[in-house]
């Protein structure tokens, strides 16, 4: 979240990828840093160590959302 906020503050479009278990912390950090609407996408938890097949599926699932947010077609 902090990397995403720092990047966004630097004027570079960014999206935070936040797993389900850390979603409340993402909200907390976004609010605490004064950037409550910083874009973020919810991932299943856990992703790390879940195997290449699963990670590829997660990536395929969220790629359209990332493109959509970056191209301004949607916000999250």
């Amino acid at each position: 979240m902090r990397d995403s906020i720092t990047t966004a503050r630097a004027g570079i479009p960014s999206i935070a990828l936040v797993t389900d278990a850390f979603w409340p912390q993402g909200d907390f950090v976004a609010n605490a840093t004064g950037m409550p609407t910083v874009p973020r996408i919810r991932l299943p938890h856990p992703v790390a160590g879940s195997g290449e097949d699963n990670m590829a599926k997660v990536a395929a699932d969220i790629a359209p959302q990332i493109i959509s947010i970056l191209t301004g077609a949607a916000s999250n």
């Binding site: 409340p24 912390q25 907390f28 950090v29 605490a32 840093t33």
Partner: protein, 374 residues
Amino acid sequence: MTLLEARSEADALEQLHALGLTDGLPVVIPTPERVAMMALATGLDPDLELGVMGPAHGVASVEKVATAAVMAGCLPDHIPVVVAAVRAVCQPEFDLTEMQSTTHCTAPLIVVCGPARHQCGEVASGFGALGPGHRANATIGRALRLAMMNIGGARPGVSDMALHGHPGKFTYCIAEDTENSPLAPLHTSYGYGEEDSAVVVVGAEAPHSTIFTGDADDPESASRLLNVIAAVMANPGSNNAHLRHGAVTVIMNPDHTTVLARAGLTREDIQAELAARATNTAATLAHVGSAFYLDRDGPPDELVPILKDPSRILVFQAGGSGLYTMVMPSWCAGPHRNSVVHAKIDLDQACEVPWAEALGIGQSDTAEVAGGAA
């Protein structure tokens, strides 16, 4: 300051619990009078900013820290140590925001050094000093925790993501046993004079017991003691072994420091010896599947040290006489890799206040108190 209203102290306590402003245990109700009195005891302007506490980026004013100290059950005598501890953890090198947010179980361990151990306490340094039964230790550490929660915004599962936490996150405070230690006072390692008082603070896990029986007839006794401490420091399951280059706390009991002093070792010697001995082989790290040890091209018997900098081993004497030294591993992460920080305890500013009056002690003799010695 936000003021809540309540019909009684019991009602106020339930409100504070319901608002998530406690650590789960009962607190002393921070009435305006008590907070003002505690702030007055610091001798500082109540609005003075001691630092900023993440992850909420709350400003730790003297008044807010005094509120945490009242809630924790501190006496006004204790507040100079609490103020110093807050100043210490708010230094950028401590990485408080990251430390509060991590999934690791780290908690700030406060080591009280110098005359404040007596003037602001007694802060215990002997038998069971890390356990229950010592008011100053219990309340000073708890005050810092409540400040980290209520000013810094740490909430388990929301902003404090420690997977399990550890009991030291309720309170974690000990004094150095300077009078009985053959080592130079710990705070003099950080540039303070012996007559100064200071807190040394480091993020630490729970203490891991390390057993050793000295033998005055064994010329290798000191070496064997260093070996067993180093072995616990290099526990191949710990962050210290995997992430490396963090910090390690080593609290030696008087018998163990005697063994090392008899061998002519100073604190700096002990740190250097432990840093040299606390290693794992590359094969061991591969065996336990370290995802963080990436330099896998070397030979399997290559010794991988857990530390580069021996000064990151916090060595001091405390505890009762006996077989055990305590090793606290650490998180080893954050931009500053779990730095040791310190701050002076300013005793010149502190002033006496009528605390019993603020608590209402002696105003009624009709109360019945349950319990007592069995």
